[in-house]
């Protein structure tokens, strides 16, 4: 008797048919809009909004015309890197705990990690606005505990935005880390110990290299959306801490310069592509750890 395919009948479908739904989706809602953005970036903005079908090469040089745009790019990169680093610093010990020590609480803790996602991202961010305002509960609590004198003055700043993004993106870092730590063969750590490695040595030489794919995946999952972050800086940054996503939004919504906004969008894509290529280089090296070091 022939063994049935593990997927039942689906397994016998031809590949193009399996790929069709996703392909159509991505063509209609990703490639076509991206094509618009690409084409718009070489056209001219109409007065007070809209686009004129007049070819123009002015939009890209405009990126360099004012130091301001580069500064926004730099702000965004700094925020993306520091947000990712902070997620990793907080997320790694948490994932390590979940994978190695949580025992029978493991599933419960994993569910708790997802619970915040049941509430809308926007609502949670607004909640921080209320919690952290000068008259909010956090301020009152700190004042009552005599830890704070005067105003909290936390909102509308770089640190408020950083807190907001780390809060929102942390689970995206923890899950891939958890998976790779969970899969880590504990016998390798025992072997390292037998061969005389200390705890730190084993961690540095065994745990980190073997979980590197998880680390890189987590970093990528946090870093990419962070580069396009729009909501957190506009709410917790008070409109004055500006990231590239806000600049692009403004070009379309209030400055009515769609062509330049499109050029900015393309520039972000190029920067991200460059970083992703770098990621694949690094991760290929990481997935073949050099033995005997």
């Amino acid at each position: 008797m022939q063994r049935p395919s593990p997927l039942g009948r689906l397994g016998s479908l031809p590949a193009p048919l399996l790929l069709a739904p996703a392909s159509l989706w991505y063509i209609a809602f990703f490639l076509v809009p991206l094509g618009f953005v690409f084409v718009f970036s070489f056209l001219t903005s109409a007065d007070f909004g809209g686009i004129e079908f007049k070819f123009s090469l002015d939009n890209y040089p405009q990126l360099l015309r004012s130091a301001v745009y580069l500064k926004v790019f730099a702000n965004t990169l700094v925020m993306a890197f520091s947000g990712t680093a902070l997620c990793l610093l907080i997320g790694f010990p948490l994932a390590y705990f979940l994978a190695t020590r949580a025992a029978r609480f493991k599933n419960l803790l994993l569910v708790l990690l997802i619970v915040p996602f049941w509430t809308s991202f926007l609502t949670r961010t607004y909640a921080w606005l209320i919690l952290l305002s000068n008259n909010g509960p956090v301020s009152h609590l700190l004042q009552q505990a005599n830890l704070l004198h005067g105003d909290l003055n936390f909102l509308y700043s770089y640190k408020a935005v950083l807190m907001g993004v780390v809060y929102n993106y942390l689970p995206l870092m923890v899950f891939p880390l958890y998976v790779s730590l969970e899969r880590l063969d504990k016998r390798l750590l025992e072997a390292a110990k037998d061969l005389g490695a200390g705890r730190l040595g084993a961690f540095r030489r065994i745990t980190i290299p073997l979980t590197m794919p998880g680390i890189l995946t987590g970093c990528l999952l946090v870093f990419i959306p962070l580069m396009g972050e729009y909501v957190v800086p506009s709410i917790l940054g008070g409109g004055k801490f500006f990231m590239i996503g806000n600049l692009i939004g403004d070009e379309f919504v209030s400055a009515h310069d769609w062509a330049f906004g499109s050029a900015l969008g393309m520039a972000v894509i190029v920067v991200l592509l460059a970083l992703i290529v770098l990621y694949f280089r690094v991760s290929r090296r990481a997935s073949t750890p050099e033995m005997g070091l």
Binding site: D47, V72, N135, G238, K240, L247, E251, S254
Partner: protein, 374 residues
């Protein structure tokens, strides 16, 4: 410059003008709904009324009571409302092809832009019998001669308010506003609009709110960039709350918002002023979009709103001045005798209304981007 002045039009002139306007309308509307044009002006809607109405308005700019009364009168209408935070926001969405909205509420300069872009439907005055209540001086505004595309909703001033318990220096001018920012660093907010914020920086130097001079705009930009480190927030929606809870000490904003603060219990110690260099006098208007799916319902709604009784009720919700003397007469004393809502002529005199050119607007947008990013 384009100040609101008592118009020279008499009532008779107005009738002639509106007859001419609706004459044009008959032609324009022929393809649509012929029945609309045959009905006499009356409060009842003419022609088959649609079954829905969609209003695209500023946030908290229409009293829920008004909406309820309208629904009670026209129960078959399904009314939906969406909101926006700035004229530019609204324009961008309409230009991007947003369909389904009937009514928008642009400020005067935006009415003019939308007329130029062909986005507005000429109003059929015969469906707006209550337009006769609108004061003569609001009937022929510079942004829409003859009120062909818009009727006034509210008018007001842009200025700033400050916490009298926190700010100890005199605050009477835009000079005070910008120069004292370093003293109250991080406690100052400006409106999230290029027109307002760049415009007030121009007023600081005594230039026109509508200046398109490169040199004057560049001085305004330098002022704003220097001012930026002291800015607490750039917001058109949160400053009321910020001033109430003391997160911020002074904020650029619109008079009605500050009037609303006075009405809170307990009222925060906030004083509103119109700076002495002058500022913006604005008129927001009801308009119907050319793409409106429910033009008869839209006319019916606007006509309903132009009823002086309803306008007086609106004033108690928005705290903005109305363009109908009859409505003002019906407004409670606390509002109509309040100089924040109805400023004296001396305060109004140096004010300007916004008149936008494509070049000047682009320059303002560019400066504002740089200000935000600085």
């Amino acid at each position: 410059m384009n100040r609101i002045k008592p118009s020279d039009l008499t009532r008779r002139d107005f009738l002639v003008l509106s007859a001419a306007a609706s004459g044009g309308l008959i032609l324009a509307a022929c393809g649509g709904n012929a029945a609309v044009n045959n009905a006499a002006a009356s409060e009842t809607p003419v022609g088959p009324m649609e079954n829905a109405l969609s209003i695209y308005n500023w946030d908290q700019y229409l009293s829920p009571d008004t909406l309820k009364a309208f629904q009670a009168k026209y129960p078959s209408l399904q009314v939906t409302a969406a909101t926006y935070a700035s004229n530019e926001d609204m324009l961008a969405k309409i230009i991007a092809g947003a369909k389904g909205y009937d009514i928008v509420v642009p400020t005067g300069y935006m009415v003019e832009i939308m007329i130029q872009k062909g986005l507005l439907l000429p109003l059929d005055k015969r469906q707006l019998a209550n337009f006769s209540h609108v004061d003569a001086r609001f009937r022929n505004p510079g942004y829409d001669p003859g009120s062909k595309y818009s009727v006034p909703k509210d008018w007001g001033t842009t200025g700033f308010g400050y916490r009298t318990d926190k700010v100890t220096v005199p605050m009477t001018s835009w000079k005070d506003f910008f120069d004292n920012a370093s003293k109250y660093s991080g406690k100052v907010t400006v409106l999230d609009g290029a027109t307002e914020t760049v415009g007030m920086a121009l007023k600081y130097f005594g230039y026109s709110y509508n200046s398109d001079s490169d040199q004057e705009l560049s001085k305004a930009k330098d002022l704003l960039v220097k001012f930026k480190p002291h800015v607490g927030a750039i917001t058109s929606t949160d400053y009321k709350a910020n001033l109430t809870n003391g997160t911020m000490y002074y904020s650029m904003g619109w008079n009605g918002d500050f009037e609303a603060l006075q009405g809170q219990t307990p009222a925060p110690p906030v004083k509103y002023i119109v700076p002495k260099e002058g500022s913006e006098l604005w008129v927001d208007a009801w308009s119907i979009l050319k793409t409106a799916p429910h033009p008869v319902a839209a006319h019916t709604f606007i006509n309903f709103l132009l009823d002086p009784k309803i306008e007086a009720q609106e004033a108690q919700y928005t705290y903005y001045a109305q363009a109908e003397s009859e409505a003002v007469a019906l407004t409670p004393d606390a509002i109509k005798s309040d100089p924040i809502v109805y400023p004296t002529d001396a305060v109004l005199k140096p004010l300007e209304t916004r008149k936008a050119t494509a070049k000047g607007q682009k320059a303002r947008d560019q400066i504002f981007s740089e200000f935000k990013a600085a």
